[in-house]
Structures are given as structure tokens and as C-alpha cells.
């Protein structure tokens, strides 16, 4: 149950967690204990705000979509290319594999965890290939970017989402590489493991968001009329 924000203290509590007990003159919590600025909290926090920002981008597109649809006239809704259902399953599946990976990494089963991470990336790549397949299907039917406003939005929204998924794959690739290297070189010092967990946590947040975003876009484009 979210508490309503009635004071700066409440805002701070929601943003960074409650203050540890301490003498009031010390101001209690002010950032992390020093030293030093450990990244764990920053990764998650920055990712949450980044997602808010990405959300605003798609909110901008959505409002344009609704307004443009409302103008009527040349709006001809497309039927969803069949392959989109398969793509959707693929992306949903990748969220499951990522979650599995996260659980394993938490249990310090790094080898298996990284394996599931790789599987997540493969599913992500398959999703992108599938989206490209959907574009090819439409092109084969003679439906292009400028054919009508709905097709414009279809290409635009899938492309914008695809670019973000590609970014997610690159991020997971970076994490996977790091995972392999650390598993081989340093059998997980506690610090490293904590840092790694924070990285994977932020990446997972992003990935699940992209997953949910796709479901939203799918509904917006084809199911919500």
C-alpha cells in the first residue's frame, strides 16, 4: 500500500528508502555510507528513471496515434500479421528465461545463470527477426510505411520498440561477457557478486519493461479499436 506523500521525508523514503536511525544532527541517511558510492542502488534508480523517460516517448507516440485515428478519413486498420503472435510468445518467453537466470545468479550458480542469460538473448534476437518477418509480410501485401496512417504507426512503433530491444540485447551481451569473464577469473568475491547482481537487476528491469511495452503496443495497434 503506497503511503501518500505529505512531506519531503516521505518523498525521500519512497525514492531512496527509510533513513537509518541516528542522531538527528547527523541528518541520518544522506546517500550511502562512505566510502563509497557503491553502484547497486544507482543502477536500479537510474534504470527506473530511464524507463520513465522511455515511457514518455511511447506516450508521445500513443497520443499522436489516438489523435490521428480520431481524425478518421484515411485510417484503414491493418490485420495483424500472423507471425506477430509467435513473436509475442518469444518475447514473453525471454522474460521467463531472464527471470530464471536471475534466480540462478542469486544462488551464485553463475555458470547456469549465464547460460540462461544467453538463451534470453537468443530469444530476443529471434523476436527481432520475427518483427522483420512481419515487415516482409506486409511489404509482400503492398503495405508500406506511407500506405495509410495505421501502417505508418505500425512500422514506426515496431521500429522504435525494436531499437530498444536491440539495445537490451547489447546490454545483456555486455553482462554475459562480464559474467563469463568473472566466472573464469574470479570465483565471485562478495563485492563482485553484489555488483553483478545489481547490473543484472537493472538489465532485467529494462527487459521486462520492453516485454510489457510490446504487449501494450500490440494491444494498441490491433486489439484496441
Amino acid at each position: 500500500m503506497a503511503k501518500p506523500i505529505t512531506s519531503l521525508r516521505d518523498f525521500e523514503t519512497i525514492a531512496v528508502g527509510p533513513r537509518p536511525p541516528g542522531r538527528p544532527e547527523d541528518g541520518g541517511r544522506g546517500g550511502k555510507e562512505q566510502p563509497p558510492n557503491l553502484p547497486e542502488g544507482s543502477y536500479r534508480l537510474a534504470m527506473l528513471f530511464a524507463l520513465a523517460s522511455i515511457g514518455m516517448l511511447f506516450l508521445g507516440f500513443t497520443s499522436a496515434y489516438i489523435v490521428r485515428q480520431g481524425l478518421g478519413g484515411d485510417w484503414q486498420p491493418l490485420d495483424p500479421p500472423a507471425i506477430l503472435w509467435a513473436n509475442t510468445l518469444m518475447l514473453l518467453g525471454s522474460s521467463v528465461t531472464l527471470h530464471r537466470s536471475r534466480t540462478l545468479l542469486r544462488r551464485e550458480a553463475i555458470r547456469e545463470g549465464v547460460r540462461w542469460l544467453s538463451l534470453t538473448m537468443v530469444l530476443g534476437l529471434l523476436f527481432l527477426a520475427g518483427q522483420y518477418g512481419a515487415w516482409r509480410q506486409l511489404v509482400a501485401q503492398g503495405v508500406y510505411l506511407n500506405t495509410n496512417p495505421h501502417s505508418s504507426f505500425f512500422y514506426l512503433l515496431t521500429a522504435a520498440h525494436g531499437v530498444h530491444v536491440l539495445g537490451g540485447i547489447l546490454g545483456l551481451g555486455y553482462i554475459t561477457l562480464r559474467g563469463w569473464r568473472w566466472r573464469l577469473i574470479l570465483m565471485g568475491t562478495p563485492d563482485r557478486l553484489k555488483h553483478y547482481d545489481a547490473l543484472v537487476g537493472a538489465a532485467a528491469l529494462y527487459w521486462h519493461f520492453m516485454d510489457g511495452l510490446w504487449v501494450y503496443l500490440f494491444i494498441l495497434l490491433f486489439l484496441w479499436r
Binding site: 544532527e25 544522506g30 558510492n37 557503491l38 523517460s53
Partner: protein
């Protein structure tokens, strides 16, 4: 993305240290110097416009050398005038008013004021600057492509901006470059904003509670949140606009549009949609420009009034309220667009309600000054100037916030006067206050006081001499964006006002040379500054001038006090540093 640890060595090589640096202080300076270059270009463009308006028939062969194609024969064509309008606005809004106060001072001082060794993500921070610079260079490139710079204004209203070269010079490649530049700027701002927010929330030193943050940090933090939520919407609009231009889509271009005797192939789009997307970003952008100035003003006023800022919590609340309301008032830029009068009333009421938090800030500034023993230093003069101009510009905002008054005045110089004062000049005064205030910290030397005061008075009087007459032009019905008034009988008697404004503008622009001279001369020749020349309280004054690479060294500061403890009864000095340990409690 390895994190900064408590102690880190400064990089040795020149390139890593000064060019591709991840040090927030170097990045802050890079932003400041970019803004200085941009403001110089922006001022020159505005002077070209002023000359055209004051002496429309005059030829300027020497000035024409700067734009050999666009100004052939030394005359400014109406089309080139519109290019100047566009580029002046875009440069100033994005690359000066957003870049200097947020990217410059925010980067340099936010980490120090919260007691951190650097930003949370130094590499992102570096990227943020370099992408901004790329955006600036792309924008400048628009001057050099065929057709020249776009003529669609900094708001790039569709369909003019959406249909391509056929609609006028600069609307081909120039407009594409404009969109690309803005898109780059959006992305850079997001990277920067993430850093500001994360650093403020997560890297505060021990004891630096949110309620002990200097008001500058609150202002930068709120500004970063605004940037984070507003820029993506502009990016979305920019992408749609680009698709309309290059891919033949019809988001913004209506059907059956005839341009230059040709029916365009687009159909069914809505120019109003662009205005909504643009102003949903555009209004928060106004606050992105002005909020840091408010923060700096509060900071400087308190320092030189030697009094705590009046109503710290009210100030923080007001910053937030202005930020929040800023997202709900974009429609007041569109009263003449044919929007429903009912939504216009809603936008109007919300707009006027911004007067409440603005008045809270103003009265708190005045209450801070009340019965204070004011030290009239140069930064203080500029902070006082900020308050004056903020009030003047704000009053005409109350006029324009009402539909019945806005509709007749919307396309006149009254609006030009209003937004230049409130968002342009006020923000610039905030930047000047910040520059004179923090220069000793940044460069370890003082700026010249006499030159600074001369600069202030010339600028302060000059600004009013420029913009007060513009209100009169506007009330007389003088339309804005017109390159010349020939052929409009009712405007002929107003011509002397144009001449007066242009002369005032030339003098005011000349006065800025004093500032540039003072700035660069003082970097090398200024009087050496001590660690805390203003006897101020916040953390940046507890470290050497200029600050070392890792700000605080191995010792991290511990904060025991609020940010504005001036003239505390019983204290030995008239200020207490935030790190000063608490007095032993009396038993």
C-alpha cells in the same frame, strides 16, 4: 561502467584529462564554454535582425561576408530574416539557456554540493556532453547546406516544416539537420538528467539529508526531472516530423494542401498535433531554462544578505509546484490555434495558477532581503536583477495567460518582449550571477569587480531599454516575425521605436564584451581567490579553489547543518559551514 571510488587519481594524458574527461568539473566547463560560443553566435544573429528592422533599406556589404549566399549584396531578404529568427531561437533556447545553467553549473557544482566525488555515471556524463556538441555542430551545418537554415522558427510549426523545400528556402536539408540536431540534444539531455537525478538521490554524503540540500541542487534536480519527462515527447514529435518529410507519411500534413501551385500527396494529417507535441515539451522547457536561475538566485541572495533564505521548505515546494504545473499548461501557447474555448479556459486557469508558486518565490526572496545588511557584490547585483526581471516578465505573463488578451496580442511584439524577459534575460541573469559567484571556485581567481559592476549596470539598463519598448510595439499591434513593415501604414509611426531598440541592443551587446574580457583576463590575471572568498556555507566552499580532481580527497565531508546558516546567534562568525559540528548542547 566502473564506479568512482573514494579516491581516484586524475588521468595523466591531456586527452583523457581535458577532452574526453569523465570528471564532472571538466564536463561542466565544457558545457559552459559551448554555451559561451553559442551565445556569441546567437547574439550576432539577433543583431542582424535588429539592423534589418531598424534600417530596412540599408545595405551591409561587410556584414554580408559572413553569409555570402544568403546575404548576397549585403541585404537581408525576408526569407533570410526568418532563418535568423529560427537559428537565434534554437541556439539560445537549447544550446545556451539549457546548456549553461543545467549542463554547465549543474555538472560542476551538483556533485560537490551534495558531497560526492563525481556523478553517478561519469561515462554517461561524458557522452552527454559530446552528443550535445554533435547536436550543435549539426545545427550550425544548416547554415552551409543548399537552401540555408530553416525558416520555420524554433517551434518548427507544421505543415511549413513538414512539406520540404517546396515551401521555402531552408526547408529542405536545413530543416532535416534542424530535426537531427534537436533529436541529438534530446538524447544528450536524457543522459545528463539521469545522472543529475541519481546523483542527488543516491550519492549524498553522510548527513546531507534532502532537507539540507542547497536550493541550487533542488532546482537542478527538479529541472532534470522535467527534462527527463519532456524531451522524449519532443523526440517523438521530431521523429514523426522527419517521417512526414522523408518517408511520405501524413502525421502532420493535412490533405489537399496546395503549396506553390501544387497539390501535395499527403492526406489527413493534423498540424495541430505537432503543436500539441511540441508545446507539451516546449512549456516545461521554459522552466528547464529558468528553474536553475531561481536556484542560483536563492543561493546568492542568501549569501550576500547574510541571512538564511526565507522559507526554505516553501521554496522547495514552490519549485516542485512550478515544475508540475509546467506540464499542464502547454495549451496557452495555442490559444490562437482554434482550440476549443473550454479547454482554453482550463489552460488559462492553470496558467494563472503558476502565479502562486512564482509569487511565493518572489516574496520569499524579498523577505530574505528584508532588514538585511546587503553586500552589493557583482553576483548579488545580478541576482537582484534576476528578481526584477522575473517580476517584470512574469507580470506580462498574467496578461498573456488570459485568452481574451492573448488572442489579439499573440502574434505581436508583446509576446516577444514577454518571453525574452522571463525565460531569456532572467535565465541569463541567473547564469551571470552563477558565473560571478562561482568563478573564484572554478578558476581560483577573482573576476574584476569594477568591470563586473559596469557590465551589470549596462546590461540591466540595456535590457529594459530593449524590451520595454517592445511591449509598446505589441500593444500597438506590431506583428512579430515580419522582416519589414513597409506597406503597413499603421506601423510607419512605430519605426523610431525600432531604431531605439536596435541602438539599445547594440550597446547592450557591446557591454557583453566587457564580460568576455573580464572572464578570460581573470582566468590568468585575476586576483588569487581564497578557499571561501564570499564566506558562504555550502560544501563547495570547504575545498580548495580550484577543486582537486576527486573534490574532497580521501576525506568525505560529514554534514551537520542546513545550507543557509548565516548570522546564527551566538556563532563566532556570521556564517556556519554545513560541515561545522553542532554546538555542544546545553544541559
Amino acid at each position: 561502467m566502473t564506479q568512482a571510488t573514494a579516491v581516484h587519481e586524475a588521468p595523466k594524458s591531456f586527452i583523457r584529462r581535458y577532452i574526453f574527461s569523465t570528471d564532472h568539473k571538466v564536463i561542466g566547463l565544457q558545457y559552459l564554454f559551448l554555451a559561451m560560443a553559442a551565445v556569441a553566435i546567437g547574439i550576432v544573429l539577433s543583431l542582424y535582425m535588429r539592423l534589418r528592422l531598424a534600417w530596412p533599406t540599408e545595405r551591409w556589404p561587410l556584414l554580408g561576408k559572413l553569409f555570402p549566399n544568403a546575404m548576397a549584396g549585403g541585404t537581408i531578404s525576408p526569407e533570410f530574416y526568418l532563418s535568423l529568427v529560427t537559428m537565434h531561437g534554437t541556439i539560445m533556447v537549447f544550446f545556451v539557456l539549457t546548456t549553461a545553467p543545467l549542463g554547465g553549473f549543474g555538472n560542476y557544482f551538483l556533485p560537490i554540493q551534495v558531497g560526492a566525488h563525481d556523478m553517478a555515471f561519469p561515462v554517461l556524463n561524458m557522452l552527454s556532453f559530446w552528443v550535445t556538441l554533435a547536436g550543435f555542430l549539426v545545427l550550425m551545418a544548416a547554415f552551409f547546406v543548399s537552401g540555408g537554415a530553416p525558416i520555420s522558427g524554433w517551434t518548427a510549426y507544421a505543415p511549413l516544416s513538414a512539406v520540404g523545400e517546396i515551401a521555402g528556402p531552408g526547408l529542405g536539408m536545413g530543416q532535416n539537420l534542424w530535426i537531427l540536431s534537436i533529436a541529438l540534444f534530446c538524447i544528450a539531455s536524457l543522459l545528463g538528467a539521469l545522472n543529475f537525478i541519481t546523483t542527488t538521490l543516491n550519492l549524498r554524503t553522510k548527513g546531507m539529508a534532502m532537507t539540507r540540500l542547497p536550493l541550487t541542487v533542488w532546482a537542478w534536480f527538479t529541472t532534470a526531472v522535467l527534462a527527463l519527462l519532456a524531451f522524449p515527447v519532443l523526440l517523438a514529435g521530431g521523429i514523426l516530423l522527419l517521417l512526414d518529410r522523408v518517408a511520405g507519411t501524413s502525421f502532420f500534413v493535412p490533405g489537399g494542401l496546395i503549396v506553390s501551385d501544387k497539390i501535395l500527396p499527403h492526406k489527413g494529417g493534423s498540424p495541430l498535433l505537432w503543436q500539441h507535441l511540441f508545446w507539451f515539451f516546449g512549456h516545461p522547457e521554459v522552466y528547464i531554462a529558468i528553474l536553475p536561475g531561481m536556484g542560483i538566485t536563492s543561493h546568492v541572495l542568501s549569501t550576500f544578505a547574510r541571512k538564511p533564505i526565507f522559507g526554505y521548505r516553501a521554496m522547495v515546494t514552490a519549485i516542485f509546484a512550478i515544475g508540475l504545473l509546467g506540464f499542464l499548461v502547454w495549451g496557452h501557447h495555442m490559444f490562437v490555434s482554434g482550440m476549443s474555448p473550454y479547454s482554453a479556459i482550463a489552460f488559462s486557469l492553470l496558467t494563472l495558477s503558476i502565479g502562486v508558486p512564482s509569487a511565493i518565490k518572489t516574496f520569499n526572496w524579498l523577505a530574505t532581503l528584508y532588514k538585511a545588511r546587503i553586500h552589493f557584490t557583482v553576483p548579488m547585483l545580478f541576482a537582484l536583477g534576476f528578481v526584477s526581471i522575473f517580476v517584470t516578465g512574469g507580470l506580462s505573463g498574467i496578461v498573456l495567460g488570459q485568452t481574451s488578451l492573448d488572442i489579439p496580442m499573440h502574434d505581436t511584439y508583446f509576446v516577444v518582449a514577454h518571453f525574452h524577459l522571463i525565460m531569456g534575460v532572467a535565465a541569463i541573469f541567473g547564469i551571470f550571477a552563477g558565473t560571478y559567484y562561482w568563478f573564484p571556485k572554478i578558476f581560483g581567481r577573482m573576476m574584476n569587480d569594477a568591470l563586473g559592476k559596469l557590465h551589470f549596470w549596462l546590461t540591466f539598463i540595456g535590457i529594459y531599454a530593449i524590451f520595454i519598448p517592445m511591449h509598446i510595439l505589441g500593444i500597438a499591434g506590431h506583428p512579430r516575425r515580419y522582416a519589414e513593415t513597409a506597406g503597413f501604414d499603421f506601423l510607419t509611426p512605430l519605426q523610431p521605436i525600432h531604431v531605439f531598440i536596435t541602438i539599445a541592443a547594440l550597446i547592450t551587446a557591446g557591454a557583453q564584451l566587457l564580460f568576455f574580457f573580464n572572464f578570460f583576463w581573470s582566468i590568468w590575471k585575476g586576483k588569487k581567490a581564497e578557499m571561501n572568498p564570499w564566506r558562504a556555507t555550502t560544501l563547495e566552499w570547504t575545498i580548495p579553489s580550484p577543486p582537486p580532481h576527486d573534490n574532497f580527497g580521501p576525506q568525505t565531508p560529514v554534514v551537520h547543518r542546513g545550507p543557509y546558516e548565516y548570522s546564527v546567534p551566538g556563532a563566532a562568525e556570521d556564517y556556519l559551514l554545513q560541515t561545522a559540528p553542532p554546538a555542544p548542547t546545553k544541559s
